[in-house]
Amino acid sequence: MMLRAAGGVIATAVAVLPCAAGAVTLESLQGATIEATSMYDTHIRLDGREFDAQTRWSVRLSIAAAGAFNASFVRTAIYQGREKGSLNRSLAGTIGTPQQAGKGHAVWLLAGDKLILLRTFEAGGFKAEITLSPDGNGCSMRAPLAREVGAGNTRMQSASRPGSQVEVLSATQASSTCKVSR
């Protein structure tokens, strides 16, 4: 009786929880370096003035054993086709472990065939979804900014004016690149 009930319960649980087959794993990522760039068309407010501008965000992520990683990020402000400044940041940590990143936090996660970066700023956040190809040698990236519920516009440090805070009124991902090397 108990065994029969258990069988039904297990079948139900398996139907609810997704199969891990084909998923990205720490083992499959070991030794990989992912380089990705995303370009945004933005409308921003900086020091009380509003601008249409572009932002380029780049990441280089190297993954070692057991999910240990080294990541470097560059965010570049572009106005009327000219680079106006950039912010560089490096993080070392472990996939799945949240950590402080500037005035916000960051964490890398694995979910299915995706490697996901969640990043928060002073207000608002960012989610980069890097989708790995089945053979693990290719990737694509979708990286939308995310408004924080109840916090108004996204705010972060300015890449063009050190010490200032930029308010992002809108941001649309215009293009992206992604590659994997081993």
Binding site: P18, G112, A146
Partner: protein
Amino acid sequence: MTVRPLAAGVAVVLASLLAAAAPAQAQTPGACFEVVAAQAGVQPAILVDKCSGKTWQLIKGRRGAYRWTALSHDDGAPAASAAAAPATGAGKCFTFEGRKFCE
């Protein structure tokens, strides 16, 4: 010999799933929930209610039974033990450090 504890443990998981699903089914039947698979040694399985923003993580108890443990209180305030636990899925929203973000 091992069937009884296994059955009990899985029964708790199912009961928890059903209990967690019940409130949301009243809003949007079957469309709200998404499970993010566990990664051994990295993150537990995470259950996200995309309709309400509530999240749970699958925790193994002392007796081996698995339970969905809420990452936030019903009023939306972060639980003290869950402040650093992120939850995301294929949806437009995620929660992180007790803050909720939507595309």
